[in-house]
Chain length 231, copies 2
């Protein structure tokens, strides 16, 4: 699966979030990093070709006035022409659209009664509708609130969450395990010292051993839930 | 009351809707027509002064991909600086924000189960949140669906609805009557022939005579409704 990360950010060089995400994505393969504000003009045919050539499209931006910065809107208005999007075929149908959004406001404020009075699902609804219109599957957005205040361990989790958001084929338990296993194998193959390689191989084997056990456990949890019904 | 109409439209010259609205607003006083796409650069201080000097702000645009065209987003991102909007004072508090939106899709499609699957209230939520953040009162949007198919009488009603949207101080029954009375008086004063003037004066007097009757009737309807309760 190839992933296109479309970034809308007018001040990307000084953005802690964007630098963090770029570093997090660096070890991944088949990722196209595409910063809209760095483009001098929008080559519509080239942009449409990029969309056709990737299976997962990510809109990545800081939330400015309850939406992406202007460069993403300009891109939507310019690239998604009627001829491209509504000519009877749906060239992006079956692909997935994800949104990675950063905010300077704590998560708790995005709810009824919170200072923003709206959820991020409501605020990002236009992007969900764009995905729907194009026949794409909309992923639950990955929201990053106030990264500057995060502890190191939480940031390490974000590296993994973000890598999975860009590359995990489907967001179910089975695919999550497959993703971790593949990553451990890859890390072992890339290890620079024999000791590190051995340690990673061991970890990878242990993980594979545990995988069927984890799958069984997950099934048991599901069975218990079904027996309990909705009560 | 002074009204600032901020228009975001990349092809305004050929827009039937925008030409219609401009002609509809032409007889009105104290309207500032402000087409963003015609500006070469955004003079932030000048834009902020415009906002300060008007009591009603209108965002007027065609719906492109579930939002205004990029020029309005650029304007929001550039003009509504943190220093302007969040410096402890709210320079636009108490003013009203209206949205005049045109679509090429029939009204019935903007609902759950309709082809758009969302209401315009949901789609325009980000603008409502901008108003809320600035301490402004958000007006119910004025939506214009597929103007090309409208009959002449409906278009004449739109002229009035639009003029009222730009200039009526509050949207209650009393202010609606006051608005019509003021407009009739104004039209009479501006009439070019003595006959037309006389006819308009007569109409204006008849309207004024009926006004207290209409107000009484409105009260009676409200009383009946209250007696009926919610059943």
């Amino acid at each position: 699966m190839k992933t296109l990360v479309i970034i809308s950010h007018p001040e990307i060089e000084t953005s802690m979030v964007q630098n963090f995400l770029k570093a997090s994505a660096a070890p991944l393969e088949a990722i196209t990093w595409h910063h809209l504000d760095a483009l001098e003009t929008l080559d519509v045919a080239a942009e449409q070709a990029l969309l056709r050539n990737h299976e997962r499209i990510i809109f990545q931006f800081p939330l400015y006035w309850y939406a992406a910065p202007a460069s993403l809107k300009m891109w939507l208005d310019t690239v998604l022409t009627g001829q491209f999007a509504f000519n009877g075929r749906q060239p992006l149908a079956g692909k997935t659209l994800g949104v990675v959004v950063s905010t300077g406001t704590a998560a708790k404020h995005f709810q009824a009664g919170g200072s923003e009075q709206a959820t991020l699902s409501e605020i990002l609804r236009p992007y969900e509708l764009v995905a729907r219109k194009l026949g794409m599957t909309y992923l639950p957005p990955l929201a990053i609130h106030q990264l500057g205040y995060w502890q190191e361990t939480d940031k390490q989790c974000l590296v993994i969450d973000y890598q999975r958001y860009l590359t995990q084929s489907e967001f179910n338990f089975d695919q999550q395990l497959a993703w971790f296993e593949a990553m451990l194998t890859k890390k072992a193959a890339e290890a620079t010292s024999p000791e590190a390689q051995q340690r990673l191989m061991l970890l990878s084997e242990q993980f594979a051993d545990k995988r069927s056990e984890l799958t069984d456990l997950n099934w048991q949890v599901q069975l218990i839930r079904e027996e309990e019904g909705e009560g």
